[in-house]
Symmetry: C2
Subunit: 211 residues, 2 copies
């Protein structure tokens, strides 16, 4: 299954399938037709069938999809069957919001530690997650296997901190800092640029009014 080449467009849609299937599961729905799923998700049934056919044999004519099976399989494709050790660098409001979001842990994203520069946060913990000082980061990474570093810190520090993280062997960065990180090609970066999202909304407001 993993050998097949899957388009980026489908990959972008998979988490949304996963979310809808998770909600169906929570509501005790055991199976669903592509038509029913298409009505809920507001996409065409044929798109759903095409997308899910990429992963082979989930659906059965006249039966529909087995919700739990499909949910589990898409979870595997998304890498959610593996535990990921995470650290959050930047224990301000945004870092704390992410630390408090228990859904991440349910999906195998285990937050092991937070880091900050603010000495007032030294020694405290958030939902049981200790906050360490940024000076300890390099040493911590030498002693602990961390899969994902979350950067929730000002852009002025982000570039330097990303270097420490990369030198410490972390291969994936979830970047909320409002800057582009230039990292070696074997390090993955997923950016969340909130300002840019807000600007897209503002663009659409401007152009809807004019239109």
């Amino acid at each position: 299954m993993a050998e097949r080449k899957i388009s980026q467009a489908i990959i972008r849609r998979l988490p949304r399938y996963y979310r809808y299937l998770g909600e169906l599961l929570e509501n005790g729905v055991e199976r669903i037709s592509s038509l029913d799923l298409s009505v809920r998700m507001k996409v065409t049934a044929s798109q759903i069938r095409q997308d899910l056919n990429n992963f082979g044999g989930f659906g059965q004519q006249g039966y529909g999809y087995n919700v739990k099976y499909l949910y589990t399989e898409i979870g595997k494709i998304l890498g959610l069957d593996v535990e990921h050790n995470i650290i959050i660098i930047g224990a301000g409001n945004l870092g704390q919001a992410l630390a408090n979001y228990t859904n991440f842990e349910k999906r195998g994203f285990v937050i092991k530690s937070m880091f900050d520069t603010n000495p007032r946060l030294h020694g405290i913990s958030i939902r049981g997650i200790p906050v360490r000082m940024i000076e300890e980061l390099s040493d911590y990474l030498n002693k602990n296997k961390i899969d994902i570093a979350v950067l929730t810190l000002p852009k002025t520090n982000a570039v330097d901190v990303a270097k420490i993280v990369v030198n410490g062997g972390v291969k994936a960065i979830w970047n909320f800092a409002h800057t582009d990180l230039h990292v070696p090609s074997d390090v993955l970066v997923e950016n969340v640029h909130l300002s840019e999202s807000l600007m897209r909304l503002s663009y659409n407001i401007a152009n809807t009014k004019r239109g």
Copy 2:
């Protein structure tokens, strides 16, 4: 300029141009060639020229781009020359993080009020922004012109609150709740689904390892 049909791909790239030009301005750079900009942004010079040509005449052969002019013009295209009144619904960590992010205000996004269900937050203010109780929302919207409602609340409340917001005449929602909102076609929704972003990272981790 606004009459021209601009592709969604370019619109997605515009905020990034805006960010780079803003940084150049901060650093006192007055003009820049498409080649120099392309090296900084890690895209091709020809892409930059093509993108910016859509808006006509910013660049001059042998001179390059006037940074301030280009920054201002892209800002106008993005609707940043207009002030937007914002409310944030959900004054938890994420809502407070957004309220504390002063850069939004610099770009004309003025946060007028926050709302929450938690009575302990009643009457407090965050960076001078008052927190009101959710029961006051409908009345508040009748008395104040709000352009954008930011939803930073649990998905269980988001759908109901979105209805109040839409009934109150708000035409744009910046949605952080982990659910799809079904709103009338004249209401714009820009989603920030953080879990889905994290899953894309996890997908890429899984497939880089296998590959």
